[in-house]
C-alpha cells in the first residue's frame, strides 16, 4: 500500500501539468485565505472603532431621563469569529449590527451583501468556495485520472497481477487522492494559523480541528466514490460524466431543492403578517405611554395598594417607570410568542435540511463547516437571543432607575446621573461552546459518517464485482 501511495505522489510531482495545477491551487488558496483574513480584520477594526465610539457616547451621557435614554438606545455588534475567514456562512446576508432600544426589537443592519451589487451577484473570494466546490472537483478529476490512466494503458492488469488485490489498489488510490485534499487543506490551515496565531484559544483549536475533520471526511467520500465508479464503469467517459453529474446534483441542484422543500414544509409567516399579528397582540396589553389605559389603571391601583397610599403623588416612587416596565414585559411576551414560533419554524426547516444529508453529504459538510466556523444561522440565532436578553436587561435597568431613582410620577424632566449610565455594562457577544454546536449538528455528523461507511463498504466489499 505504501509503495502505491508513494508512486501516486511521485507521479503527481513529476507531471509538470499536475504540478502546475497544484501550485496554482496552493497560490489561489493562500490568496483566498489572506483576502478573507484581511476582510474579517477590516470588519473587526471598523466594528471595534464603532463599538468604542458608541460606548463612549453612552458613557458620556451627562444627565438624561432614563426613558429618553431607552429611546436613545445603542447599537450592538456581532463580532465575527476568526474562523469566519474560512467560511463566512450567512454573515454576509444577516448583517452584524443591531439597534437596541425600548419598546421594539429591531432587525439586523449592516449587511454587506445588501450594499454591494457585485457581492450579491458573484459573492466574495472565500476559502470556503475552494474548500467546498473547487477542491472536491479537483479530487474528482484526480481520482478519475488515477484509475482511468491505469485502465486505459492496460497497467491495471499488471498492477493486479503484481499486487494481487484490487481492493488494496482502490483503497490506496483513494487515500492518495484524498491526501491531495489534505495537503491543500493543510495549506489553508497553515496560512490561517500564521495570520491568526495570536487569537488562538482552546475553543478555536477545537473548532478548527472539527472543521478540518469534516472536510477530510467529505474529501474521502468524493475521492472514494470517484475511484470506485471509474473502476466499476467500463466506459470511462460515462464514469466521469456520472461523477460530475453527482457533483452538480450535490452542490447546486439538491441544496436548492432541499431548501425550497424545507420552506414549503415549514413556511414562515410573511413580514407583514407577523407585524400585524404582533401589533394586534400588543394592543391587547398595557400601553406604557398612556396613563388612561385601562390596564395601566389596574396596575396603578395595585401599586397604590402595595404602598398603602391613595394617589400617585403620595407614592415614594415614579409610577411611570413601573408602567413603562409593565409595557415592556408585555411586549416581551408578545415577541416571545411570535418570534418563538418563527424560531421553531426555522429550527424545523434546519432539521429538514439536515436530513437531506442522507442523500447529499455536501449539505452535511456545508452545515458543519458554517457551524464550526460560527457563521451559521444557529450562531446567528444565539446572537439574537443574547442581544434580546441584553436589551431587556438594559431597558429594565433604565425603567427601574426611572421608577426608583428618586423622581416622582409625571416628573419627565428628572434626569439620571452619568454614573448610572456608565454602570450599565456593554454588550459582549459570547461564542457558543463547541459541545452545544456538536449537539446541534449531530445529524450532519451522522450523515457524513454514514456516507464514509458507505464508501468504505464499496471499496472494501464491492471491489470483487468490478470487471476489468
Amino acid at each position: 500500500m505504501r509503495s502505491i501511495f508513494i508512486n501516486e505522489w511521485r507521479l503527481l510531482l513529476r507531471s509538470k501539468v499536475l504540478l502546475s495545477i497544484g501550485l496554482c491551487f496552493i497560490l489561489t488558496l493562500i490568496a483566498s485565505v489572506w483576502i478573507s483574513h484581511k476582510q474579517v480584520s477590516l470588519e473587526k477594526t471598523a466594528q471595534d472603532e464603532a463599538k468604542q465610539h458608541l460606548r463612549a457616547q453612552w458613557e458620556n451621557i451627562e444627565e438624561m431621563n432614563p426613558h429618553s435614554a431607552a429611546h436613545y438606545g445603542t447599537y450592538v455588534f456581532k463580532t465575527s469569529s476568526i474562523l469566519s475567514s474560512l467560511d463566512n456562512g450567512v454573515n454576509n446576508v444577516t448583517g452584524r449590527m443591531i439597534r437596541v432600544e425600548g419598546h421594539v426589537q429591531n432587525e439586523m443592519v449592516h449587511s454587506e451583501a445588501s450594499q454591494m451589487v457585485f457581492v450579491s451577484k458573484f459573492g466574495k473570494l472565500r476559502a470556503s468556495i475552494f474548500l467546498q466546490y473547487i477542491i472536491p472537483l479537483l479530487l474528482i478529476f484526480l481520482a478519475f485520472y488515477s484509475i482511468y490512466s491505469e485502465k486505459q494503458s492496460g497497467r491495471l492488469k499488471l498492477l493486479l497481477l503484481q499486487s494481487n488485490s484490487l481492493k488494496r489498489l482502490l483503497w490506496t488510490k483513494t487515500l492518495s487522492v484524498c491526501s491531495v485534499g489534505l495537503l491543500l487543506l493543510a495549506f489553508v490551515v497553515l496560512i490561517f494559523g500564521i495570520l491568526n496565531v495570536q487569537s488562538f484559544d482552546e475553543e478555536i483549536l477545537k473548532r478548527l480541528t472539527l472543521f478540518i475533520g469534516a472536510y477530510l471526511f467529505y474529501y474521502f467520500i468524493v475521492s472514494g466514490f470517484t475511484v470506485y465508479l471509474t473502476a466499476r464503469f467500463k466506459n470511462a467517459t460515462l464514469a466521469l460524466t456520472f461523477m460530475l453529474g453527482i457533483w452538480m446534483f450535490w452542490t447546486i441542484f439538491l441544496p436548492n431543492v432541499l431548501m425550497s422543500s424545507a420552506e414549503k414544509l415549514h413556511p414562515l409567516p410573511s413580514r407583514n403578517k407577523l407585524a400585524t399579528d404582533m401589533k394586534e397582540d400588543r394592543a391587547k396589553g398595557i400601553d406604557g405611554h398612556n396613563p388612561t389605559d385601562e390596564r395601566a389603571i389596574v396596575l396603578k391601583e395595585e401599586v397604590l395598594a402595595k404602598y398603602g397610599v391613595d394617589s400617585l403623588s403620595q407614592l415614594p416612587i415614579n409610577f411611570d417607570g413601573i408602567r413603562m416596565q409593565a409595557d415592556e414585559d408585555y411586549g416581551n411576551q408578545v415577541w416571545d410568542k411570535h418570534f418563538g414560533g418563527v424560531i421553531t419554524k426555522l429550527q424545523l426547516q434546519k432539521k429538514s435540511l439536515q436530513r437531506g444529508g442522507i442523500i447529499n453529504p455536501f449539505i452535511s459538510l456545508q452545515n458543519l463547516s458554517m457551524g464550526f466556523a460560527a457563521s451559521d444561522n444557529y450562531h446567528h440565532q444565539i446572537f439574537l437571543e443574547q442581544v434580546e436578553y441584553y436589551r431587556r436587561k438594559l431597558i429594565q435597568s433604565l425603567n427601574i432607575e426611572h421608577a426608583h431613582g428618586g423622581s416622582k410620577t409625571g416628573d419627565w424632566g428628572w434626569k439620571a446621573k452619568n454614573s448610572f449610565f456608565k454602570g450599565i455594562p456593554d454588550f459582549d457577544y459570547q461564542l457558543e461552546k463547541i459541545k452545544a454546536v456538536i449537539r446541534t449538528y449531530i445529524l450532519d455528523v451522522a450523515c457524513l459518517l454514514m456516507w464514509t461507511v458507505l464508501i468504505f463498504g464499496l471499496l472494501s466489499f464491492n471491489s470483487k464485482k468490478i470487471e476489468l
Binding site: 509503495s3 507521479l11 513529476r14 492488469k157 499488471l158 498492477l159 497481477l161 503484481q162
Partner: protein, 233 residues
C-alpha cells in the same frame, strides 16, 4: 505447468473460448496463433484470473486458478502487447515499483542486473520511460516478470510493432527464459516469429483450438498455408 481442460468463456451470446484444452510444460514455448477475436487474449485473461471461467478447469503449476488465484498469480509474469509503464519514472524505478507491489525488495544493483539480463542497456535504465522505444518497454516488462521469478510467462502479441532487431532480441530472450525452465504461452499473429521461437504452435479460431503442431514439423511456408486454410474455412 499450464493446463486448460475444456475451458469455456462466453460474453453474453458470444462464445469467446469454446472447450479449449491445452497443456504447456516447463521449459516450453507455446505459440497461440489466431486472427483478431479468435480468443487468444481471452485465454490469457482467464489464465491471469481476470476473467472468470464459465466451464472447465484451468490449472497453473498443478493449482486450480479459481481456488488458488493468489498463489497462481504470484508465479505468473504477464507481458501485454504494449507494456505501458509509468512514463514519468525511469525503467529502474518502474521495475522497483512493480517488484515492491509483489512484495519483493531488491537493491539497485540487483534491479540493474535484471534489466541487463532482459537486454536493457545500463545507461537506459536511469532514463525516464517516456523516452523509451516499444522494444525497451517490452524488456522492462519482461524484467518485471523475471524479477518476480515467474515460472509462467503469458505474452499477448509481444512482438507486435517491434522493429526486426528488437523482435529478434525478444525471441532470444524468450528462448533463454525457457531454457532456464520457464513455461511460456505466447499469443501472436506473427507466424514466422512463432515458428522460430515456439516449440509448439496452436491455431485458435472462434475460441476453439483447431490444430496443434510442433514447430519443427512445418516450414514457415507450410505453416502460413495451414494457417490461411484454417482461417479461410
Amino acid at each position: 505447468m499450464i493446463e486448460l481442460k475444456n475451458a469455456s468463456k462466453s460474453f453474453k451470446a458470444h462464445k469467446a473460448i469454446d472447450k479449449l484444452t491445452l497443456k504447456v510444460a516447463s521449459g516450453e514455448i507455446f505459440g497461440l496463433l489466431g486472427s483478431n477475436g479468435a480468443g487468444k487474449s481471452t485465454a490469457i485473461n482467464l489464465l491471469l484470473g481476470i476473467l472468470k471461467l464459465d466451464e472447465g478447469v484451468i490449472s497453473v503449476n498443478q493449482l486450480d486458478i479459481t481456488k488458488n488465484s493468489n498463489k497462481t498469480r504470484s508465479i505468473i509474469g504477464y507481458i501485454p502487447e504494449n507494456v505501458n509503464l509509468y512514463p514519468y519514472l525511469t525503467g529502474l524505478e518502474n521495475l522497483d515499483y512493480f517488484c515492491l507491489l509483489a512484495g519483493l525488495r531488491y537493491s539497485k544493483t540487483e534491479l540493474n542486473s535484471f534489466l541487463g539480463h532482459c537486454g536493457l542497456q545500463k545507461n537506459n535504465a536511469d532514463k525516464r520511460v517516456k523516452t523509451y522505444s516499444k522494444g525497451m518497454r517490452q524488456k522492462v516488462g519482461i524484467a518485471i516478470a523475471y524479477a518476480k521469478k515467474a515460472k509462467v510467462y503469458l505474452l499477448d502479441e509481444p512482438a507486435s510493432g517491434l522493429d526486426p532487431l528488437a523482435s529478434n532480441e525478444l525471441s532470444k530472450l524468450l528462448i533463454e527464459l525457457a531454457s532456464e525452465g520457464a513455461c511460456i504461452l505466447m499469443a501472436t499473429h506473427d507466424l514466422f516469429r512463432a515458428r522460430e521461437v515456439c516449440n509448439r504452435i496452436g491455431i485458435l479460431k472462434n475460441g476453439k483450438l483447431l490444430r496443434e503442431l510442433s514447430s519443427e514439423s512445418v516450414t514457415a511456408t507450410e505453416l502460413e498455408q495451414l494457417y490461411l486454410t484454417y482461417m479461410q474455412n
